[in-house]
């Protein structure tokens, strides 16, 4: 089992993701420079948070044209796991690997704090080890996390169980007050139809140690590890 963390110019959560995979997941992990075009030795790649290309034009827009993204598209098409966190989520939307788009927060501010999220679908490779009754406390840090999509896409997401996480209050209620950025229907994370590509605005890699205020993020990485092991057994 091998993880890769893709490093774009301007990524800044790459080391956090690397740390979590090596220390808490306990699996081999490489940094992958964005000019790399061969991902064949990996089982899962993480597109980390940060400000790829300085967020020029739109957050994630220019990273879409990095050489590695063609390889990421092929990797995803092969059914391997792609996990975009924050800027990584923005890049996946810009690249068309996930539906919708992330626009400026409704309140205009950069929001950096712990939020509560609930898991809407535990039947994904990224959420199978999560206790669905539990509200997860995971930090966000973004100015463009306001998830938007048209009605047709939204209905498809709902019907296909592609809405994976929603912002909620401490009781699990997805209220307007618990929505930190104006995201449509409190959406915090979505997956593709095949469920092997997930994007989320909250940072689970920053929530894997009690010292940092929460270790609720571990269940997501634990789920992914289980899914990779299961996929390897099937092959």
């Amino acid at each position: 089992m091998k993880f890769g963390v893709i490093v774009f110019p301007g990524s800044n959560c790459d080391h956090d993701a690397y740390h979590v995979i090596s220390k808490h997941v306990g699996q081999p992990v490489d940094f992958i420079w964005h000019k790399e075009t061969d991902l064949s030795s990996y089982d899962a790649v993480i597109l980390p948070g940060g400000f790829s290309y300085g967020d020029y034009l739109r957050a994630g827009a220019l990273a879409h044209f990095s050489p590695v993204m063609d390889a990421v598209k092929r990797f995803a098409a092969e059914g391997k796991f792609v996990f975009g966190i924050c800027n990584g989520f923005q890049i996946l939307c810009e690249s068309g690997l996930l539906p919708g788009a992330l626009i400026r927060n409704a309140g205009l501010h950069f929001v950096c704090r712990h939020v509560n999220i609930r898991t809407e679908n535990i039947n994904t490779p990224f959420t199978s080890a999560i206790d669905q009754r539990r509200v997860l406390s995971i930090p966000i840090a973004h100015a463009e996390g306001n998830y938007t999509c048209d009605d047709e896409t939204f209905n498809e997401l709902e019907e296909n169980g592609q809405i994976v996480f929603r912002y909620c209050d401490e009781n699990g209620e997805a209220s307007a007050e618990a929505n930190p950025n104006g995201a449509r229907s409190n959406i915090a994370g979505v997956c593709n139809l095949d469920r092997n590509v997930l994007g989320m605005m909250p940072h689970p890699e920053r929530a894997c140690e009690e010292l940092l205020g929460s270790n609720d993020g571990r269940d997501i990485f634990r789920s992914l590890t289980k899914a990779i092991a299961a996929a390897a057994n099937n092959n």
């Binding site: 539906p99 309140g107 048209d150």
Partner: protein, 81 residues
């Protein structure tokens, strides 16, 4: 030859920055503004040898693939000599 590209948010997409600008304009004393929407403007300078048709074709492709995100934005291309 120049191509001018205007990128605007689709009418259905919320524009919080435009709303903030609208509010500032009202504070300046302009009370009869019903809406302000923020967009982006690009100037693409092409080689002189390029025909107007080719310039339009290139600018449309750049606008569609890079400058605008079709999920949330519309674009318009103008060619000027």
């Amino acid at each position: 030859m120049k191509a001018k590209v205007y990128v605007t948010l689709k009418p259905s997409v919320l524009d919080p920055q435009g709303k903030a600008i609208h509010h500032s304009a009202e504070l300046l004393g302009f009370k009869k503004i019903s809406d302000i929407r923020q967009g982006k403007y690009f100037e693409i300078t092409l080689d002189d040898a390029v025909s107007e048709g080719q310039a339009r074709e290139s600018a449309e492709k750049i606008a569609k693939d890079v400058l605008a995100n079709p999920v949330i934005e519309d674009y318009r291309v103008e060619i000027v000599q």
